[in-house]
């Protein structure tokens, strides 16, 4: 496509659609009791419970077991106990949850969600609750309460947006995680999360992608890159290397995830480093975190350690995955450390965006930004990257670095409205283990605030693509964006943009660019 044609196409997509929305960003906030009480995910079957070390069925003395677990957790995690104790019901959080905005169910208000568990905690673990339960909103742990926990603690994506607005910093995600761990301890787990963790233990990744399939997919991608660029770019598997790339298995399977993987491979190639993927640790995601299970989280994290030792690497780099980056950045060392066998010159672990941005700053990557001129980009901050981790060596690096990369490879970049980005970013609606078909209604409703923010920049600036660095966000948006007038491929990987623009040494693109520049120089003379 010529430059002229591309510009013409860009102008076309930039046209503001007629049905431009003038609605306010948020929703009618009138609470509707029980509005999402019917939305329930499928519980896990016995097999998946037992693989994770939980009972397959509800024990007879389940109340005793559940309360003992709550007691254990309040002793182990001071934050959990503190969060249950200090809420003053100020109401600052009430309209901050995307699931509340989308469903209007008051039990999806962060304080409402916390109170489902707080009320039981008060009854059994505080003096006023033991003596005067009705005066302090304390209640017995009954079967109805347990069912209500299951329903509403699987309507929280653990995105922690509410914690930003709470004057005490109460983190509902921690309460949700504890509730899920208690539910699991009485055999009441969730099918989607627990089946997936079982697959990690059996096969090495969430998808259940066995080594021969992974090998064949990577070979296919190598062929594809060579066809496109004329350069032999490798995607090595289980080879001795300096860098171990641990990335979500969706990067080997889904769109636009796989385009991001192609981007990482091109960056590694241009950097001239020796890297590898491991079939044993072919998963960056750690769903153990979603269900609040320290033990399962640790079992998954230890696979990364083993792969790093077996392959003799010096560095670990994590691919585009939101909660995986939290699990890696904040917990990997505690769960599976010490990593004293890695090269101390580099962060342990490092994010692929940090790696790429570092190379860009050193001038080691060459780009033709015009390759992305038909795109008008915005960036969706993923919750776990934004609020539970950092990138680079200064606060806020996790916001700047992905944006810096996008701006280095694209000419048209726009921000979504303030209050919906950075620390206050809205969840995609599918995080925290809710990215399952049986919760599609919730996912659509929970994703609607983000969609509204996106429509604003579409209408104001003609934005036609949104980029993200999280496998869950990407999969969720491919499902919900078509419902809001966007195309299934209007969500992109950040490294897909890098892949589009990068000029590999000796590539067809390099030759074309040199010819173009030569012609331009001739014309100027």
């Amino acid at each position: 496509m010529s430059e002229l044609e591309k510009n013409a196409e860009a102008a076309e997509v930039a046209e503001v659609p007629e049905e431009a929305l003038n609605e306010p960003l948020y929703f009618d906030m009138e609470p509707k009791d029980g509005a999402s009480a019917h939305i329930r995910s499928f519980p896990a079957v016995e097999e998946f419970q037992e693989q994770l070390g939980y009972p397959g069925e509800r024990p007879e003395n389940w109340q005793e077991v559940a309360l003992a677990k709550m007691d254990e957790l309040r002793g182990k995690f001071r934050s959990f106990r503190l969060f249950l104790d200090i809420c003053v019901k100020c109401g600052a959080c009430t309209d901050k949850c995307h699931y509340y905005m989308g469903t209007s169910d008051p039990k999806n208000m962060p304080v409402g969600r916390q109170d489902l568990l707080r009320s039981v905690y008060r009854r059994y673990f505080t003096l006023p609750g033991k003596w005067f339960p009705s005066l302090v909103g304390a209640r017995e742990l009954t079967e109805e309460v347990l069912d209500e926990w299951y329903t509403y603690y699987f309507q929280c994506s653990e995105c922690r947006r509410c914690s930003v607005f709470c004057p005490y910093g109460i983190d509902t995600a921690e309460i949700t995680m504890a509730a899920r761990e208690i539910l699991d301890s009485v055999g009441y787990g969730m099918k989607y999360t627990n089946e997936i963790i079982t697959k990690v233990f059996k096969v090495g990744n969430n998808l259940g992608l066995p080594k021969p399939a992974l090998e064949s997919t990577l070979e296919d991608l190598e062929e594809e890159i060579e066809e496109d660029t004329g350069v032999k770019v490798r995607l090595p598997l289980d080879e001795p290397a300096d860098i171990l790339l641990v990335t979500p298995s969706a990067d080997f399977f889904a769109e636009p995830h796989i385009d991001g993987l192609i981007g990482y491979a091109k960056v590694f190639h241009a950097a001239g480093v020796k890297w590898t993927i491991s079939s044993y640790a072919s998963e960056a995601a750690n769903f153990g975190m979603f269900i609040g299970s320290y033990e399962n989280m640790r079992r998954i994290a230890l696979r990364i350690r083993k792969a790093a030792i077996d392959l003799g690497v010096k560095r670990i780099i994590i691919g585009e995955c939101g909660h995986a980056w939290r699990a890696a950045y904040s917990f990997l060392n505690t769960l599976a450390g010490p990593f004293d066998f890695l090269d101390p010159k580099y962060p342990v672990p490092q994010h692929i965006c940090e790696f790429t941005w570092d190379l860009i700053q050193q001038g080691k990557l060459k780009f033709d930004k015009s390759q992305n001129d038909h795109l008008k980009l915005t960036f969706h901050d993923s919750c776990n990257v934004a609020r539970a981790s950092r990138m680079g060596d200064y606060p806020g690096g996790q916001f700047d670095i992905p944006r810096n990369i996008i701006k280095a490879v694209c000419n048209h970049y726009y921000e979504m409205p303030e209050g919906t980005t950075h620390e206050a970013t809205l969840c995609c609606g599918g995080g925290g283990g809710l990215l399952t078909d049986d919760l599609m209604e919730l996912r659509k409703k929970g994703g609607s605030p983000r969609m509204k923010a996106l429509k604003q920049v579409r209408d104001e600036y003609g934005v036609n693509k949104m980029a993200a660095i999280c496998a869950i966000c990407k999969a969720q948006f491919t499902k919900i964006m078509p419902e809001h007038g966007f195309a299934v491929d209007d969500i992109m990987s950040v490294h897909q943009l890098v892949s589009n623009a990068i000029i590999l040494p000796g590539s067809i693109q390099e030759k074309e660019l040199m010819e173009e520049q030569g012609q331009a120089a001739d014309a100027a003379e």
């Binding site: 499928f42 099918k191 989607y192 089946e195 997936i196 697959k199 990744n205 969430n206 998808l207 259940g208 992608l209 066995p210 021969p212 399939a213 064949s216 997919t217 296919d220 991608l221 594809e224 979500p248 298995s249 969706a250 080997f252 399977f253 889904a254 769109e255 995830h257 796989i258 995601a285 995955c321 990215l435 078909d437 049986d438 496998a471 869950i472 990407k474 999969a475 491919t478 499902k479 299934v488 491929d489």
Partner: protein, 113 residues
């Protein structure tokens, strides 16, 4: 939907809550037609090409292929006008991986997909 049975030629074939068959060996062409109908899909030759490819791939690798691999295989066989994502979504509106897998009698791909 809840777990239950598909009725095929007077035989009952068990499926899970989402309509994926429980025993992969229960699959037959007649069953595929039944599942497709429930999904609101009228099986054409084009649908069968995708379903057959998925089953062959699964036989070899014990998993469904990545969308990209599927697109490429279709492209190779039927040309570029069919070898693209859009075409596959037209055939299987709920996503070629999950919906086509269900009809092909394969397990549902899990994870962040």
């Amino acid at each position: 939907m809840s777990a239950g049975f598909y009725e095929v030629n007077g035989k009952q074939v068990p499926h899970d809550e989402e309509g994926y068959i429980t025993n992969l060996s229960d699959w037959s062409k007649e069953l595929a037609e039944v599942i497709a109908k429930q999904e609101g899909i009228d099986m054409t030759e084009e649908h069968w090409d995708v379903v057959n490819f998925l089953r062959e791939y699964y036989d070899e690798y014990q998993i469904a292929p990545a969308i990209r691999v599927l697109v490429k295989a279709i492209k190779k066989k039927f040309g570029p006008e069919k070898g693209n994502n859009k075409y596959l979504y037209e055939l299987f509106p709920y996503g070629p991986a999950k919906q086509a897998c269900k009809i092909a009698g394969l397990p549902k791909p899990t994870g962040c997909v």
